[in-house]
């Protein structure tokens, strides 16, 4: 995320027209969370509240988006670092207010960025049940326990936008398969604790 340019940040001064500090806070959060494609509609929604032209609203929204994303990208946590980003003759109170809002939200925003990064389909939930097979067409009487495992898997969040597709996969495991799987999982756990203890 490249550092926002001075010209962009000047647009932030439009926020001086905002009705309240909470409105500014709200706008900051919305600008961070929205993907670049949705900034247009967001600007239109912000127009009436700020009593500015559509063009100015767009500049403002885009500037806020870039600023917040840049701070999260660089992982800036100190007020001084954030204050440096603003141009020299920027309105002092607004600068402090924005820095304060950003610092309040930084860890939530960081988590949000991590949660929405690209990844393989993620495990959302899992359920299991143990059945006993009593008979089948190849053997009339038996008592074989077997496990049914249901995994709820969500496709990559970025690809699905607002409608994440969750698919349920039901897998059957025999006792041997389960033992082998547990062996593998145990090995993972051992390696993880070896890495953690280093």
């Amino acid at each position: 995320m490249a550092a926002p340019r001075d010209g962009d940040l000047a647009a932030l001064q439009i926020l001086l027209k905002a009705p309240s500090k909470d409105a500014v806070r709200q706008l900051c959060q919305e600008c961070f969370s929205s993907p670049p494609a949705a900034l247009g509609p967001l600007a239109q929604r912000a127009c009436p509240g700020l009593a500015v032209s559509a063009e100015e609203a767009e500049q403002l929204v885009s500037a806020l988006h870039n600023l917040t994303r840049h701070v999260v990208y660089r992982g800036l946590t100190r007020a001084e670092d954030i204050l440096c980003l603003f141009p020299e003759n920027f309105h002092q109170n607004l600068k402090n207010l924005l820095t304060k809002i950003i610092l309040e939200n930084i860890s939530a925003w960081r988590n949000e960025a991590q949660a929405s990064q690209i990844s393989l389909p993620r495990l959302v939930d899992m359920d299991w049940r143990v059945d006993i097979k009593t008979s089948s067409d190849s053997i009339v009487r038996m008592a074989v326990p077997t496990c049914l495992l249901q995994l709820k898997i969500q496709e990559d969040a970025a690809l699905c936008g607002n409608n994440p597709v969750v698919s349920a996969l039901t897998v059957e495991l025999s006792k041997e398969t389960l033992d082998t799987m547990l062996e593998g999982l145990g090995r993972i756990r051992d390696q993880l604790s070896a890495v953690a203890n280093k």
Partner: protein, 172 residues
Amino acid sequence: QFSALTEVLFRFLTEPKEVERFLTQLSDFATMNKISLGPLKNIVKSILLVPNGALKRNLSSEQVRADFIALGLSEEKASYFAEQWKVNSPTLTRLAVGQTLMINQLIDMEWKFGVTAGSSELEKVGSIFLQLKLVIKKGSQLENVYVELTLPQFYSFLHEMERVKTSLESFS
């Protein structure tokens, strides 16, 4: 003579995929004993019906022996067959259970875990991820399913699987 034939039969039953070997052994037997292959095949087919039915109904070796005698086989041969049956039945039962319907059977699991160093949203990350590849048999095809888990998810998954294992063990 009969024992050689029984041996061939049981070898086929315990390894049902070795059809070619079974047929070769049958034709060898036919030539050795100067019987023609056609009638021998028919006899073998009818003989095979008995163990298959016995397997389905979990018959003991005495019952198998009684069945054969009822079908007209001499006592000596029937006892010999029953003995072979007793020896081989665990393998045969296991095979039959293995053939029982399984839905989306898990065949294999591969895994890797690592650290996310950075992303387009966050310059420095440093979080651990775990990726599993599950190979599942859907019908007659194999399907690969890829899943990513976070560390806490992995630990609860491991915990749940251990509970399943305890549950399965209490039923065996």
